[in-house]
Structures are given as C-alpha cells and as structure tokens.
C-alpha cells in the first residue's frame, strides 16, 4: 500500500500532502478549542493530553519494543511528586523541575529495565507490577512526600523566580496551551525516535530478541533505553498531571491506573503513535465523562438506574466504569487485537480503490 522507495521517503515527517492538510486542520482545531468549549471540557482535554503523552511513551515500550509494563503509574507518580517537590522545596523553576523529575523517572526506568533483560512475558508483567506498587507504598510511607495526606501542587510558575521573572498560569485554558505544546513536541519526538536506528532496534527486539542480538543489536543498551525513554514520557506526563489535578495523594497512582494506561495502548493500537493518541483520548473520555455520568445518558442511564434499584445498589452504579472498561479490554482482544488503529487501517484499505 505505501511502498517506500528510498530511505528519505521513510524518515519524512509527513507522508503526503493529505496528511499535512489534516495535521494542520487538527492543530488549528486544537489551538482554537478553548474559544468555543466550556471550562470542564478544557479540563478534560488537559487530562486527555497528559494521558496522550503517557500512552505514546508506553507504546514505545509495549508496542514497539514488546516489553510489558504494569508499573507505569510508578513513573507517573515519580514525575508528579518530583516536579511538585522540586519546585516547593528547592525553588527550582518549572521547566527544569519537570525535566529533572522526568530524568529521575527515566533513571528508575533504566533500573527496572535491568531485570527485564532476563525476564519476559508474564514474569516481566509481575516484576513491573511489583515495582509500581512499591513506589506507591514508599511515597505513601515517607513524610518527605507528604505521606498519606497527599501533596498540593504549587502555583504553575513558568518564569524563573531567581531572576525575578514570574508568569503564573492560573486557569485551565493557560495550562491547556502549555500542555498542548509539550504534547506536540513529545509526540513528534516519539515519532522521530521510532524512525531512527534506535527505533528500528526496538522493533527488531520486539519481533525476535534473539535474532536482533544475532544481527548486532545490543540488547542491554536498547532494552534499558526503551524502559528509560518510556519512563521519561511518563515522568513528564506525571509532572503535568499534578498541576492539572492540583492535589494528589499516593493512592492516585494505584494498580488500576497502571492497568488503565495499558488499556489505552492496547485499545488504541500497539506500536503506532496514532494508536496511543486515539486510545488515550477514547479511554479518558469514557472514564472521566461518559461512564462517570452514566445515569444521565438517555435511555441507557434510566435502564441502568432501574436495574440498580431492582437487583443492585444505586450507590454502586459508579462502578459501572470498572465493569465497562473490563468488558472493553476483553472485547478488544477477542474481536480486534490490533485496536482502533487496526480498524483504521482496514477501513483505509477497503476504500483505497473505491469505487472499484
């Protein structure tokens, strides 16, 4: 379908003018979005974009390198706590604080990558799960991190205090533009990583790590690098997430959150940048908007309320969220293992020679 004739065709940022056109349309829509949507939806978009950063990073690890991680909430927590505490305790400017926190997360990713050299499949899933929960308990158990009471994020000051510059972002709309710019940078960055030697090594490791080693890919370097890159993305996303929420405690970053991140990647489509973006947007929307207010959805909401009153409890209806996400997870593996990106590719192929 899209045969590459030379190397430069492969590494181009945009494949065709059509792609450029739609990208520009999307960017214009995103940059003007706060003008015509209400503040709750701006907040929702902020969360979606934070999750997009994380899902794109996780997709580098799970989709492109083939390593399973159930511990990304841990890196997310490191990013959130690291950024907030560096800003509050050491008065480090935001830009440097979030970078340092992301590099701390990347370092922990490197550490988690070391056992990953010997583990695969379910064992790796368990080890990363244990890692994520350990981070959560350590943060919850130490007073430096605010303990179980949680942390209130400091004002989001883009200026440098030491030079007397302050530029505090107060509203969701201001934060929206900051997060949007960072999201675009990181998504383009991820796309470029996958087009380089490093990205091709990741894919080679996913397809067969033994074959990759035989043709000269250094497994030690590239596997730990995949973990570090992915953790870096999670760290940046976590740093931003703290400011979007404004307040967070250790149990925000529990196992369910790690599962949600994995779901975003799997539902969106493994190994595709667009997949991570679509999955993060869809799952976040479902989780924070549609399923959260399921009782207000026409017809279905009334039906569920009736069912709740008859056989279940009405207060428990909020758990419809977990049930529906669980069914989505099972359904996507059974019916469409390639995720939404797979559906998109199939549609494109089907219509390619239209009307013939």
């Amino acid at each position: 379908m899209d045969m590459k004739r030379d190397y430069y065709e492969d590494i181009r940022l945009f494949k065709s003018n059509v792609v450029i056109f739609w990208t520009v349309v999307l960017l214009i829509a995103l940059f003007t979005a706060p003008l015509y949507i209400d503040s709750y939806n701006v907040y929702l978009l902020n969360i979606i974009m934070v999750h997009v950063i994380l899902a794109v990073g996780l997709n580098i690890l799970v989709g492109s390198t083939g390593q399973i991680s159930l511990g990304h909430a841990g890196f997310f927590a490191i990013g959130a706590y690291g950024t907030a505490l560096l800003m509050m305790k050491f008065q480090i400017p935001f830009v440097f604080a979030i970078l340092i926190a992301a590099f701390i997360a990347a370092f922990f990713g490197f550490i988690l990558g070391l056992p990953a050299l010997r583990l695969e499949g379910p064992y790796l899933a368990i080890a990363s799960l244990g890692f994520g929960l350990t981070i959560m308990h350590i943060i919850g158990g130490m007073d430096v991190f605010g303990g179980r009471m949680g942390v209130r994020a400091p004002p989001l000051d883009l200026g440098i205090q030491q030079l007397g510059l302050t530029w505090i972002l107060k509203t969701d709309v201001q934060k929206y533009y900051l997060i949007l710019i960072l999201t675009i940078l990181l998504v383009v960055g991820a796309r470029n990583i996958l087009k380089t030697r490093v990205g091709r090594s990741f894919v080679a490791i996913r397809d067969s790590d033994i074959a990759a080693e035989v043709i000269g890919v250094n497994l030690t370097i590239y596997k730990t690098l995949a973990f570090a890159v992915s953790a870096f993305y999670a760290g940046v996303a976590g740093g931003l997430f703290g400011f979007v929420l404004g307040f967070f405690d250790p149990f925000t970053f529990n196992l369910i959150l790690s599962i949600m991140f994995l779901v975003m990647v799997v539902v969106g489509g493994l190994g595709a940048i667009q997949g991570g973006i679509m999955g993060a947007a869809l799952i976040t929307y479902l989780q924070y908007d549609l399923f959260k207010n399921i009782a207000e959805v026409p017809y279905l909401g009334a039906f569920l309320v009736a069912v709740s009153k008859q056989w279940f409890t009405l207060v428990g209806l909020e758990n419809f969220n977990a049930m529906a996400i669980g069914l989505i997870m099972i359904g996507i593996i059974i019916f469409e293992p390639l995720g939404m990106f797979g559906v998109w590719i199939r549609l494109k192929k089907y219509w390619m020679t239209w009307p013939f």
Binding site: I68, L119, G121, P122, T134, H137, L262, A322, G326, M329
Partner: protein, 291 residues
Amino acid sequence: MPIGQLLVEGLAIGACYGLFATAVVIIYKTSEVVNFAQGEMAMFSSFVAFHILSVYHYPFWLAFIMTMIFSILLGVLIEFLFLRPAKHPSILGMIVITLGAEMFLMGLASWKWGAEQQHFALPLDQRVTYEPVSGMVINNWTIAVLVVATVVMLLLYVFFKYTKLGVAMRATQQNKLAAKIMGINTGRIFSFAWGLSSLIGATAGMFFASRAALDPVFMMEPFLRAFAAAVLGGLMSIPGVIIGGGLMGLIENFFGYYWPHWKPIVAFIVIILVLCLRPSGLFARHYVKKV
C-alpha cells in the same frame, strides 16, 4: 521476641498464601496464562457465600457447598466466555483479558454489595486457643487453615498422580498438540483447570475474608502476596508453591514484626529479588529458550 508465635502465625498465613498460590499455579501450568483475575474470582465467591449466609440464613455447610459449586461455575464461565473466543492471543493479550475480567468482577461486586466492609465469619471460635508448647498460641483459625491446606495438597497429589483426568491435565501442560492427538479434549481440560483453580481460590478467599473483612478490593493484597509465593516456588510446581507460601508467610511476619511500617512492600521486594536472581523460582527447573 515471641519467635514461636511469629513462627506459628507466619506458617498459618503462609499456608493460606500457598493455598491461594496453588490456584494461580494450576491455571498457569495448564494454559500458561497468568490469571490476574484470580483474586477477584475468590472475592466474588466469598461475597456469594456472604450473601447466602446473611440474606437467606442458610446453615454454613449448605452455604459452603453452594459457594463451591458457584465458584466452579464462575471459573468455567470465565474461561468459556472470555478466554476461549480469543484466537491465538499473544501473552500481552492474555494478560489484558484476565485484567479485564478482574476489573469486571470488581465492578460487578461493588455494584451489587457496595464498597463498605462486611463482616464475614467462619463457624470457628477464634477465641479458643491452645498452647502446646509455651510461647506458641494456636487458635482455631490457624488449625483450620493448616488442616485444609494439607488436605487440599494431598487430594491434589492423588489427583495429579493417579486419576485419568489429572494425567490428562499433565499431558496437556507438557505438550498441547500431542495431548490433542492422543484424544484429550484440551478445551475441556482448560475449563476444568479454571473450575478447579476457582474452587481452591474461593476456599482460600473465605479464610482471608474471615481473618480481615470482606469488601470488593480485599483480595488485592493477598493475591499479590500469594503471587510472590508462587514466584518464589517457581509458578510451575505445586510442592514448590506450598514451600514458597510458607516462606513468604514467615518472611512477611518476621519483617512486619521489626518494621511494621514497611510490611506492605515485603511481597514486592521478594518478587523483584527472586525474579532478578532466580527467575525460574527456588524450586523449579531452569527453563532455556530454544530458537
């Protein structure tokens, strides 16, 4: 330091972990699926027992039998509805399916019974204690756990060694294709493994519920510790898992005595250390991948 007491309690809770880890291992052995929904399956069965006891007021033995039948059906149903339709899923796909089943069961249980803690009691008086050796106080719960774990282990040993079905299960585990050629209905074997595993898990789940409290997330922590026990024993051998469970219980109890603050993370440290140092577990044969 009450060494004897810590020893007894560690062994008892370790037997409970071992029992539950056996459920994980039975599924992993037969179908190479790590069942992340195991804890929630046990939780759901315990809630059914609680419902029968508190709403219908049936005697305990009847409720127990009904719960056991329910748990078998639950396991078979999950295998039939969620895992069987997936055609050639990857390892990640399997993990996502069991995680999905976990979320689904957790949501369903919270919808039905609410998130508050319920009191669940076995017909055992925990205040009755014995002190065979001075410094080692044993209560009824401890005795029941140790007896049940031993009986289940003996039954499993006999089952895998001498019955036709047990041998068929072992054959399926060793080579699925060859077992199929020999006329074993491997699909049915998987269903059976899930039912058996769910049954054992539900038994362990009721012990955990009577020790702490019953709520939709109460099996999360015991599940992870049982998992640590299973990893310690190698995820493949049932005797290894029982020893792993005992070790896990002892490690946790002694560690928790000295540093109660850090008790929740012992299991994860054990998991990570074992996986880093001896990925195949303390008792399993090392597995070498062939190209």
